[in-house]
Symmetry: C2
Subunit: 463 residues, 2 copies
């Protein structure tokens, strides 16, 4: 895909009222995300950049940019806050970065459902919905800066997925408002399940303008750390706690030694060499959790209500913040994403700890799968040596029956989902017939040889 730089350069002249970013250093910064967690992606994507970025504030501004790009066949890469780890927001073929972070109005909350513009930060959403008694069901550890649209377009879930499963589970997302990429952009409201065809496809098949999501009752959460001297005891406790139906929880994160040793800011609560479980629990469930921890030989070293913890939250030591925090003290680390077998996840984690001790450090996030099975997902830390050895390590996981959701690839089909649902690709033909959205990320799409409409079954979408 070749774009004429002169056409891109003309955009701010044609649309002077918009908030354009043309400074090369700023554009380069807006062209990157957290793909540098992976030494592989870092090598592959470090020099990729858009030619220009724009920050629309209204739907009319989004439409103006999109219409111009469709007219001139300029690639568009939609970006939230760039907190993804797979190069989702990194343009492979230049063009325009559509930075949605300024399109961020909170809509409404009613009947346990909420709606907002895609660029709203997750923390801002909660700040506005909690006084009405509701909060988001999932918070990735990047919640302060990550946007709702970004979570939908390139994320999974996070804290809260231990109760509500991933964002992809039926009932979590109720609808999206989408703009097509055409000279005359259309705006379409898609309800679930069709809305989910735009989930986790890196903004390749439509521009999500607004999201309507099911919410969770806003509870008073208590954050705790339980420490253990035994890996097995800590792991078994974390798993039993995560599954316990009478304990209402938002987060259970298991960190095998020496992961906790990397968390300097929490050092006073994490005895050197300990195994730790980071927990966010409803106030009324705290006593039950502490009973279980005591019975398992654990020590509660940290216990703070939201009011007591102020701006610090343990959530920023879980999920990929664990990776971030550890890489800050040891740049020789990278990580994996692994999916365990719900029927034997504890046994698998114990076996892998034995098989790879010293080279792989265990970090597990407990959750419910899309279908509701209780399981854990691994974000293991790896002492990186070579890409070949990284592949070998992944094979050891597979040999133990643990799936690899490879975070060292940037093409959709190479990641956790593998082959795409044909309806996802069909939607791209309808909503982005020229293939201008984040080109290069979806391998299954090829330009239609004739008018896209003629090929399109359309019955996959109710809109």
């Amino acid at each position: 895909m070749n774009t004429d730089p002169a056409l891109v350069a003309r955009l701010p002249l044609d649309l002077p009222a918009l908030d354009w970013v043309t400074d090369a250093a700023r554009v380069a910064r807006l062209s990157q995300d957290f793909a540098w967690f992976s030494p592989v992606l870092k090598r592959q994507l470090a020099d990729k950049t858009a030619e220009i970025a724009v920050r629309p504030r209204t739907e009319a501004e989004v439409r103006a940019v999109v219409a111009a790009c469709a007219r001139d066949a300029i690639p568009i890469t939609v970006r939230g806050s760039g907190t993804g780890n797979y190069g989702q927001a990194i343009p492979l073929h230049g063009g325009v970065i559509l930075d949605m972070s300024g399109y961020n109005a909170f809509g409404w909350v009613r009947g346990g459902t909420g709606r907002a513009q895609a660029g709203i930060r997750l923390a801002d959403f909660d700040r506005q919905s909690r006084p009405q008694g509701w909060e988001l069901r999932w918070l990735p550890s990047t919640f302060r800066s990550a946007t709702l649209g970004g979570l939908f377009g390139g994320g999974f879930g996070g804290a809260g997925s231990i109760t509500y499963g991933p964002m992809a589970a039926t009932g979590n997302v109720l609808g999206v408002r989408v703009m097509t990429v055409e000279p005359e952009p259309r705006v379409i409201e898609l309800r679930a399940p069709d809305a989910m065809l735009l989930h986790h496809v890196y903004g390749t098949n439509g521009i999500v303008l607004e999201l309507e999501v099911a919410l969770a009752p806003a509870l008073d959460w208590v954050e705790s750390i339980a420490t253990f001297s035994s890996f097995d005891a800590a792991l078994e406790f974390a798993s039993a706690l995560g599954a316990a139906p009478g304990l209402v929880k938002k987060e259970v994160c298991f960190l095998g030694a020496p992961v906790p040793d990397h968390m300097a800011a929490l050092a006073e609560y994490l005895p050197k060499g300990c195994h730790a479980v980071l927990i966010v629990m409803a106030e009324s469930s705290q006593a039950g959790m502490e009973d279980m921890a005591a019975a398992a030989g654990g020590t509660i070293s940290y216990r703070k209500t939201a009011a007591e913890s102020g701006s610090r939250t343990l959530l920023e030591y879980t999920w990929n913040h664990t990776t971030l925090v550890a890489m800050k003290v040891d740049r020789g680390l990278t990580y994996l994403q692994t999916g365990f077998d719900p029927a034997r996840h504890v046994a698998q984690a114990k076996a892998l700890e034995k098989a790879l001790a010293g080279e792989v450090m265990t970090h597990l996030e407990f959750l419910r799968t899309k279908d509701g099975a209780f399981n854990c997902s691994g974000l293991q830390l790896i002492r990186f040596t070579t890409e070949a050895r990284l592949e070998e390590i992944m094979q050891v996981f597979r040999d133990h029956g643990v799936a690899i959701n490879n975070p060292h690839v940037y093409i959709l089909e190479d990641g956790k989902q593998g082959a795409l649902n044909p309806a996802v690709v069909a939607l791209k033909h309808r909503f982005d017939p020229q293939g201008l959205l984040n080109p290069g990320k979806m391998r299954s799409w090829t330009p239609a040889p004739t008018a896209a409409d003629a090929l399109e079954p359309r019955r996959d979408i109710a809109a």
Copy 2:
């Protein structure tokens, strides 16, 4: 155990301020529960009666009765509303019925926790807690009349157990206030997990005065019926719906044909011969449920918000109200209680439907087990012929790997729990040293040959 009738007759004379029931017909009625669901228990327990009943209104009145009974070695059978099915509230050795239904003050709600006196009806609790944003986590189908203390003493859970598991799951019950049966009764606050030693032991090891329980956020629930022409499709839908983590639910009840044909009051929503799923779902989860039902070939024949349904609720067609409703139209029926294997509950239910069609009708309640595994529990309806055939049917279930929680027995150890936790028996020695509470229900307890205190390890209780 022999009680001197003269001693019992003296009680109202000694304590004239109390609300005594002496009329033989009324005492006989207060001596019965729903054990008549079982033809076996009906035969065994029909003539059992106390000699007198009393309805205390204050802790002082409870204490006065208990002190007098302890002094004179008069049996005490604690009763809520008598909605149990196992003869829990039926006195085997006469004495006094301690009817707790007048000891029913609502205490408080704070931080997701609530407290009330044992005799409060579950519906009354919710009526007082819901305006504060909270409701009980579990409602048996008898919630209008059943008491909180009765649910704790002889119940399991009910609607809500699909999210919070049984009442026995860690974190559901936080504490109980207990009175001992001694000439000078003591009152002791037991916190969980010790509090759970008094759960589901039919009031044999202490008199529960107050309960403190964790609550659920009060949501706006919608009640629905989905009907199917295929048994397998309905069952698979019900199981997938019950497990779906993004759908917030209170009840998923599967009724295989011809169970729905017994529900005359719902006939307009239940096509003759259909299989039905009765569903209570959060408002924001309704659309996701309906998507799943449509995909499974189901038809939503009934959909009402709490406001629309008024005083009728589908909950009164689930759990053992299914049994009650069916027995009203066919007194030749009885039922079973069965526990499936979480790893293969759907396959087991299909196989049993084939093996016993015509004689056993499938009724399954979906729930989370105490440990959080997703499962179903059966309350199958049986066309009763003989006790011998009932035993054979139970064996067919066992042969399919399904456990029988026999509802045709009244002794604790013969029911679902089998051998009692020794700490339960130890507690009875401490709290009821003479064995006056509901005598004959706990086989493991035998009177201490010497002073009970001398035998007692006591370290099992933190109080």
